[in-house]
Symmetry: C2
Subunit: 285 residues, 2 copies
């Protein structure tokens, strides 16, 4: 990798492009995202993602360029093609979303998962996990942190992938990346309309299981060891009729609660409970 | 309740006191906390907490004082003793922690739970739930949002209470309140040193169950229907030796994971998984 070029103007189009990537629309249109800090950048490289640009500030990072390369050799090994820039502290702070900038910001290409090729690729990824489909559908999720936490739990449970159905958040929002502890770099996360996802799942013969407080069927009494997709709704609005109809009365389940103050769970906690009930049943088989 | 007094100076000691309550230390020393917005203030009143002061801004709230009282009659019914103040928008914004201030801020007394009297009070609160003890110990939790989410799940699972052991966060941090969806107003949350909590749990004959990745025992193979305390550690540091020793080899359990990218769960997700495995076992009994 070449020595980093000095870059000091806030008007530089590269700097502006990084700041714009905070917006969902810009990430969607460009297919890019921003990773921040040693750990996140390191994990994106380890996941094999393609780095486009690297911005670093020796003062904030507390490391010289040479020290950075020694500590994160993947920068040279896997991202020798990327453009590197040395930026002053004030400018790096402008580029970072994180409250405590670490002095390292990199632009990567998002992994591309297409519904058309997902089945093959995800099965290959998960062949050491479960023999039958295990998917999560985050339906209408509104908080990026919740989506990220769901992807983390999905990975931990060995799920094949996560669908963000009709969601106005994406997995490469900085808060989603952080909450996922970089699982979004590895786990397939597919943003698509509910109808397309449902068609995909029907082709897979995956049973649709919707967690909803209105149901009466206990989630632990339903077979989650067979091929399933676990649908978790947004906390306020619940799950769309489309999904509830696809699940039918034998696929709509409830997590029995005894709350004095609350009658619902955080969406990522509901997903974790459902996912690990599925793993419990699969281990018993 | 008297008509609210007009208050417009940022130097007013009442205003400064509200801002100071963002600090853990000020909340601990005063025993007070701040609730923000219609829903949170309404839930604190519904939970029977004692309101000290109410600050409102008709412009931001989009309601007159009369309309506020009609919509939240508990203000008159349960907080007639409180001092009410009418403040201009700029000042209310200074007092609020929330990014989108709703125009309503209230100072309440924290519910007081003491280890000495906890057993009686919690049993009474939960007599309709489980016949045997079900506690959560958040050991060294560092994120208020995680603590709040754990309290929410604990309530939903019918747990008797949550201990924040050696924690440097408290349940009345604004982010903890929000993540708990006000469950912290109702569920006993006790901040105390680990040693004191352990003594309390031993007196209750509650079995200590520690979730830790180093354990080999599957959490679903352990009896969680008897009296138990589920100990969840901080994500980075894990659980202190004190707790692991108290649990012993038959009380240290693992949640089996199959992650490609991650090998741990968000603390609140781990708590939810353990809590709802306990409720599953209890329903089966």
């Amino acid at each position: 990798m070449r020595e980093p070029l000095r870059l000091s103007s806030a008007d530089n189009p590269r700097v502006k492009a990084v700041v714009r990537l905070r917006k969902h629309r810009d990430r969607r249109e460009s297919g890019l995202f921003v990773a921040e800090g040693m750990r996140e950048v390191g994990r994106a490289l380890a996941a094999g993602l393609w780095m486009e640009e690297l911005f670093f500030c020796a003062t904030i990072l507390g490391r010289s360029w040479g020290e950075l390369l020694r500590e994160l050799p993947d920068i040279q090994d896997k991202a020798a093609h990327a453009a590197a820039f040395d930026v002053p502290p004030g400018l790096l702070e402008k580029m970072t979303y994180c409250e405590k900038p670490e002095g390292l910001v990199a632009v990567f290409q998002q992994p591309r998962w297409e519904l058309e090729t997902l089945a093959e690729r995800a099965t290959a990824l998960r062949k050491d996990c479960w023999p039958t489909d295990l998917w999560v559908v985050a339906a209408g999720t509104e908080k990026p942190g919740n989506l990220g936490a769901m992807v983390r739990s999905a990975d931990a449970a060995g799920a094949w992938g996560v669908f963000a159905a009709d969601a106005n958040v994406d997995a490469f929002n900085p808060n989603a990346i952080r909450a996922s502890t970089a699982a979004v770099f590895v786990v397939p996360v597919i943003s698509a309309p509910s109808g397309d996802i449902l068609r995909f799942l029907k082709n897979r013969n995956a049973r649709i299981i919707v967690a909803t407080p209105e149901a009466t069927l206990d989630y632990t009494s339903v077979d989650l060891a067979g091929p399933v997709a676990l649908v978790i709704g947004a906390e306020d609005r619940g799950v769309d009729a489309l999904w509830r109809e696809a699940a039918g009365t034998t696929g709509c389940v409830t997590i029995p609660m005894k709350g004095v103050a609350v009658d619902s769970l955080n969406a990522s906690n509901a997903a974790a409970i459902m996912l690990f009930e599925a793993t419990r049943q699969r281990r018993q088989k």
